[in-house]
């Protein structure tokens, strides 16, 4: 009743959507047998997002519903990406240490530090990464 258009019979639309979703499921399974290298995740997530959008727009009526609900739902996606994005950015850029103004140097420093520590003797000072629980 939120929009009177939705009081019509939409069975065909829904059935078509289901069919599309099933086809996309087939495609994503098929695609997983091919190796796109680092793009594997991207391909899988792209297909999943297309499917998710179909579900949200048609099954969840966002297409015809009041825009506020779409805003709310998109909001959750935006904030989830912020959460994921910042955490990933931190972990990705953490391994690089700065030795000069805004120049980022790869691994080396850290590896050297490790070697040095391994070489220095006392018992019980084994590098913690090697400790097993």
């Amino acid at each position: 009743m939120s929009s009177h258009a939705s009081h019509h019979d939409h069975t065909k639309l829904y059935a078509g959507t289901l069919l599309t979703l099933l086809v996309l499921t087939g495609i994503t399974v098929a695609a997983s047998y091919f190796d796109f290298g680092s793009a594997n995740v991207v391909v899988a997530m792209f297909i999943a997002t297309v499917k998710a959008s179909l579900v949200a727009l048609i099954f969840m009526h966002l297409k015809d519903d009041k825009p506020v609900n779409a805003v709310i739902f998109c909001g959750s996606m935006v904030f989830l990406s912020i959460f994921l994005g910042f955490c990933m950015l931190d972990v990705d850029s953490r391994e690089k240490v700065s030795t000069g103004k805004l120049t980022w140097v790869e691994e080396q420093d850290r590896e050297e530090a490790k070697k040095k520590v391994k070489a220095s003797p006392p018992a019980g000072h084994s590098a913690p990464a090697a400790e097993h629980h």
Partner: protein, 314 residues
């Protein structure tokens, strides 16, 4: 005002600390300026526009003022840019390691700090560094999070188990400075202290050779005990007779031990010295040859201390 403000900050131990203080003063005066405006008006208006007896309550109808609102949106925004860049630049300085930095390995555990120097020597309780030499601290933790904090250098870094983190400073003032643990780590968090001692080159050479100056006045037994506790001996050698990865020190002095190679010998000064420097030479029967050598990482005075310490374990 400046004098008082300086007294609210710790002693200055490096150029970096002085830079931070300058920045700190800037932010302080900036804040003071805004506080006087806001706070002053927040007190002045209620007095000035107090409803006086006999007055009607009709007030001015002012809904907004574009210019004013823009003013206090844009000016603070610009100031924020300044603060950000100033803060970022001075921050990089604390983590930009000069090429010739001396690397010291710092390890935190509940509830003390140990330091290992480039020449392999190590110690706990006090970090000794030469004056005017850039220092890079490479740090990790044995158990939980700690934070290595030297107020005089205005630097601090959490130390994390399973990962190395670092920070750097160049001491420009001789003296002793406090070191704190700043990340909560349990019962004796507030007792996890250490000192930073900045020495001139001559003093530092002596330190390298003969160990910390206080060794001169310390009972050798106590030196031995410190080594025992801070250099990992205690993880294999107990003091109460329990068998660890190595023989217990309890009552070991003067005992005749059977060795893995079939020979035997008395535990005396020479044997202990040899065990520390060439641990694989004479392994007591029933133990694995797992002890690492301390060749080059213990000073003679420290080995003597260990001997005195073991002598005392009756």
């Amino acid at each position: 005002m400046n004098e008082w403000l300086r007294s609210t900050l710790p002693i200055v131990g490096s150029e970096h600390a002085r830079d931070i203080d300058t920045f700190y003063f800037f932010v302080f005066y900036l804040s003071l300026f805004f506080f006087i405006i806001v706070g002053g008006l927040a007190v002045y208006f209620p007095i000035k526009y107090r409803l006086k007896p006999g007055e009607t309550r009709r007030s001015a109808h002012i809904t907004d003022n574009f210019f004013l609102e823009m003013l206090w949106t844009v000016v603070p925004s610009l100031l924020c840019f300044v603060l950000f860049f100033w803060g970022f630049n001075t921050y990089l300085a604390a983590f930009t390691v000069p090429n010739d930095a001396m690397e010291i390995y710092v390890r935190g555990r509940k509830w003390n700090w140990t330091f290992e120097y480039p020449d392999g020597m190590a110690g706990g309780g006090t970090l000794y560094v030469p004056l005017n030499r850039p220092i890079k601290l490479i740090m990790d933790s044995e158990d939980v999070l700690h934070a290595f904090y030297i107020p005089a250098m205005r630097i601090k870094q959490d130390v994390i188990p399973g990962r190395y983190v670092y920070m750097t400073f160049t001491p420009t003032v001789k003296g002793e400075f406090q070191i704190f643990c700043a990340e909560y780590c349990g019962k004796d968090h507030s007792g996890m202290l250490a000192m930073l001692k900045v020495m001139d080159d001559a003093e530092y050479e002596v330190f390298k050779r003969e160990g910390p100056p206080e060794y001169k006045t310390m009972d050798p037994k106590l030196i031995g005990e410190t080594i025992y506790k801070t250099r990992g001996c205690q993880s294999c050698h107990s003091l109460d007779g329990t068998k660890g990865d190595g023989p217990s020190f309890k009552g070991i002095w003067g005992k005749t031990e059977q060795f893995a190679d079939g020979t035997s010998g008395v535990v005396d000064e020479n044997y202990i010295r040899q065990s520390v420097l060439e641990p694989q030479a004479k392994v007591v029967k029933g133990f694995e040859p797992v002890m690492p050598t301390f060749q080059g990482s213990l000073r003679p005075v420290e080995i003597n201390g260990i001997i005195a310490f073991i002598k005392g374990q009756k």
